[in-house]
């Protein structure tokens, strides 16, 4: 057993495995169309822009901006701590490319829209999952 906190982890499939295992080397990756360059999230089998099936996971910078957030107080399920800052972050690689995540390594009261953040991973190595989370970087 790892010492990672309890999480309900994603059901790993051939299609999403490269996303959830991406953090193994500390790099965040998303699907990208190899024909037109469009970033695809959530994962698919076809580019929604040019309908190409030539899709591959590529690294992103790992930088992002808090698009919106909530300080969640309600214990819906076991979580490492309450309250926690759930957020939707916007990635600079493409307009509208977003990820739901949590903001960690800061006081929840400091989280705000527009906050610059970078990826960090919570390793669930025995489950082949590295959960991408985000932490503040200097504004």
């Amino acid at each position: 057993m790892s010492d990672a906190p309890f999480r309900i982890l994603p059901r790993i499939t051939d299609r999403n495995e490269p996303f959830w295992a991406s953090g193994k080397d500390g790099v965040l990756r998303f699907q990208r169309c190899q024909s037109c360059g469009y970033w695809i999230h959530p994962h698919s089998v076809m580019c929604p822009q040019c309908l190409s099936k030539d899709i591959a996971y590529e690294p992103v910078s790992g930088k992002a901006t808090v698009h919106t957030f909530t300080i969640n107080h309600q214990p819906w399920m076991p979580v490492p701590e309450l309250p926690f800052a759930l957020a939707i972050v916007a990635l600079p690689e493409q307009e509208g490319l977003r990820l739901t995540t949590v903001i960690v390594h800061c006081d929840v009261d400091d989280v705000h829209i527009g906050m610059p953040v970078q990826v960090t991973f919570e390793a669930h190595e025995d489950q082949n999952s590295w959960i991408p989370m985000f932490e503040p970087i200097a504004e």
Binding site: F6, I8, P10, F69, T70, N72, Q74, W76, M77, I88
Partner: protein, 397 residues
């Protein structure tokens, strides 16, 4: 003739409603259905269609009291058309499907229903609010949209909607005091509804003092799980001579979803799918938002209703905060009386269908203590939030 004008709502019904009734959910469902059939002046022999949301039970327990097949067999109905399912433009998408089936000639009188027993299911220890309950379960794995939120401890729509509300607060300066008027208004109206769950008076200070669930949403921004069934009959306009009373007419419907079907990838997170459904609905009628005299609009979370107010054009985009200030505009004697039965926030999470039920009751003038003295001629029933929305514009015969 426009398709909508071939359809009317001929009767409505509702079972007992309560927090923990511990009654057979099929009984609650059938009580509502039989009342609706009789309200229309029909018998089970006349019903030749069924439309329901979300289909038969399953997970989470209490989310569905019965599916189409159970009701067809329980009432021994002979059907020309039937449908039940969850993938549609909100809960009232089922009723809109019924209108289409009637206009298409596949059925003449369609029984539409939605029943829940979430109050008892949660109170009986079978489940928590949103997660499966009980022990001896292997840790589940997340898939579908849950893949993106369950690993982060957010299985409920409350934090998803909260993030949308936060975005609205950020872009337009909306305040908790403004949003809170939706909950205060609902409670005020619930006091006049004998079936409402919560009827104790609530002030805006009570609202602001309620605990934060997921900022900026508080406890009183969240609806209350309950048990109960709601039903209505969609009939063909040619059957009006056979009906017990002049029916409510369907003037226009809206079902559009132009944005991505997602809680976090939708283009403008300060609004939701109702933005698209409402535009489509208004494109199908000559009536205007200013013609509407009563609005029954989904409040699973209060912020959803705020989005409906803007989407329907009762105020401008981003202006709902100012519109809600002080609560006068949405009061019973206000610009647009809102959720006159107390909404799901105070009268119970009957899940979408209660808004259409109440709109019909108000247009028929059958609201009793809660009847609007203006006796409205035009009403709106809207349901759904996030990437699901369906809406009907209704007129009195």
């Amino acid at each position: 003739m426009k398709a909508e004008h071939q359809t009317v709502i001929s009767g409505v019904g509702q079972s007992d409603v309560g927090r923990r009734l511990f009654r057979d959910p099929l009984e609650l469902t059938l009580d509502a259905c039989v009342e609706a059939i009789h309200d229309a002046g029909l018998t089970t022999k006349d019903i030749d269609g069924i439309a329901t949301y979300p289909g038969p039970g399953g997970e989470p327990p209490g989310f569905s009291g019965a599916g189409a097949v159970e009701v067809q067999d329980a009432l021994r109905l002979e059907l020309g058309w039937w449908s039940g399912g969850i993938e549609r433009p909100g809960q009232l998408g089922a009723v809109i499907d019924a209108c289409m089936a009637v206009a298409f000639g596949l059925a003449t009188h369609v029984l539409c229903f939605r029943s829940v027993f979430e109050g008892s299911a949660q109170g009986g220890g079978g489940r928590a609010a949103v997660m499966p309950g009980g022990s001896n379960r292997a840790a589940p794995r997340a898939s579908g949209f849950m893949e993106w939120v369950l690993p982060y401890g957010a299985p409920s729509a409350a934090p998803w909607i909260a993030m949308m509300a936060q975005r609205h607060f950020h872009e337009y300066g909306t305040t908790p005091e403004q949003l809170g008027q939706i909950a205060v208004n609902a409670r005020r109206n619930a006091a006049l509804n004998p079936k409402a769950i919560y009827t104790d008076p609530m002030t805006i200070d009570d609202y602001l003092a309620s605990r934060v669930i997921a900022s900026p949403l508080r406890l009183f921004d969240c609806d209350v799980p309950c048990d109960g069934g709601t039903a209505m009959i969609v009939s063909h306009v040619d059957t009006i001579p056979d009906l017990r009373k002049p029916p409510v007419r369907v003037e226009a419907v809206g079902t559009a979803l132009r944005g991505r079907p997602s809680w976090d990838q939708f283009d403008d997170l300060s609004t939701m799918a109702m933005r698209d459904a409402a535009v489509q609905m208004w494109s199908r009628t000559d009536l205007k938002p200013s013609d509407v005299q009563v609005a029954e609009m989904y409040d699973g979370f209060s912020f959803i209703t705020l989005c409906w107010l803007e989407a329907m054009g009762f105020c401008g985009k981003g202006e709902a905060g100012a519109f809600l200030e002080g609560g006068h505009n949405i009061a019973r004697d206000g610009v647009i009386p809102l959720n006159t039965h107390g909404g799901q926030l105070s009268s119970g999470r009957l899940h979408g269908f209660s808004f259409l039920h109440e709109a019909c009751v108000q247009l028929w003038g059958e609201g009793g203590d809660r009847q609007l003295t203006s006796n409205p001629q035009v009403g709106v029933a809207a349901a759904g939030g996030g990437p699901m929305a369906g809406v009907l514009l209704l007129t009195k015969s």
